[in-house]
Symmetry: C2
Subunit: 217 residues, 2 copies
């Protein structure tokens, strides 16, 4: 027995399928079978496959929004607690991972939201003396979110590299440890590369301000 409404059962089955095999490969017939309904009913409730995707997007994004809002309230500032908390909702996480890879609009929305929040939280961390101030806080936020989401999207490959199961506790631990080391000390022994880059930068006059237009080519 399943006390959820039929519509939400279909949506959850779709989230699961989409997350597992991607939007393209997932078929309405399979989703309907998973939810123990006929294919026709899926279309009755969601209009089309695209409509079904939108409903899933909305639900997952809202769900993550809620848990992020909770973290903001409790005042969590570091990104790894976030990652750990995300693991609680594995189907949604898989869905998000797929959405990122599929290039779904929802993933783009979520990416931008998280960048914005990450930038704000970083500012708080800097004030609190926990985080090192960056010369380009926005760029850094974009990069760190891309790394975090990117690692999520490539979880399968990382797991293989570690020799563990994707989405296992083992994996979270290994990723967390390695990431903390890098994010605490960096990987370069000194700043020779950074200095070199900065000189190139100043010569080419690439500043965030006039970033919108490309003057070469």
């Amino acid at each position: 027995m399943d006390d959820r409404t039929t519509k939400s059962r279909i949506r959850d089955a779709a989230i699961h399928r989409f997350g597992e095999v991607g939007f393209e490969r997932a078929t309405i017939r399979e989703i309907a079978a998973d939810a123990d309904v006929s294919p026709g009913l899926v279309l009755h409730h969601f209009g089309s496959k695209a409509g079904l995707r939108e409903a899933c997007d909305e639900h997952v994004v809202a769900s993550f929004g809620a848990s992020r809002a909770e973290m903001v309230e409790t005042g969590t500032t570091d990104p790894f607690a976030t990652l750990a908390a995300l693991r609680e909702e594995e189907p949604h996480l898989r869905y998000l991972m797929r959405a990122l890879r599929d290039g779904s609009p929802a993933a783009a929305r979520l990416f931008d939201e998280v960048v914005r929040e990450s930038e704000a939280m970083t500012a708080l961390g800097v004030e609190a003396g926990i985080l090192r101030p960056s010369e380009h806080p926005h760029d850094q936020a974009v990069l760190l979110v891309a790394w975090q989401f990117g690692a999520l999207a490539l979880a399968e490959h990382m797991a293989r590299g570690f020799g563990v199961e994707p989405f296992s506790d083992e994996m979270t631990a290994r990723v967390g440890r390695a990431a903390l080391e890098v994010l605490s000390h960096g990987v370069f022994a000194d700043t020779r590369y950074e200095d070199a880059w900065r000189r190139l930068d100043e010569a080419a006059d690439v500043t965030p301000a006039d970033a919108a237009e490309g003057e070469s080519e």
Copy 2:
């Protein structure tokens, strides 16, 4: 006039299409049209769509292998020179990006190869005093490659975050600058998080050696 052989023309058209829209969405008919041949000829040369993918995989992986081998010979040790060099072959880069997102076997192969090479190059860098020695060199290599490839896979989102075009010089510059800052200094002001994690680590006894099996659950 195109002096390449018809077969390689088809393969290059396929690499382009696969890279642009992904393996699933790309159709043999479109690829054939791009290469100015009939759909039948594509199958005549490559047997099936999967065979065509394999041929593309092999070609792209080999191409990247060649340019990486060249970098090893010239003794380049830092990952950003690699990124810059990759930009020269944009279609192949787009293909690789898609392959990573699609979960193609070729992408897995390449990922593992690059991890291995990255680990070796990092060891060289440490010896040379350029790179900081890591406590878990393999884990660090996996993480850094995942970040690098992940950022590549999410190039579209990063570009939007920066307000620039994907695969533009502008974008390379911004990513490089932000990455160098993080990889030179880290983001944490001190090691309090790392220390806390290490204590958790020792308590749970999570070591790389017995990483293969999960004892909980």
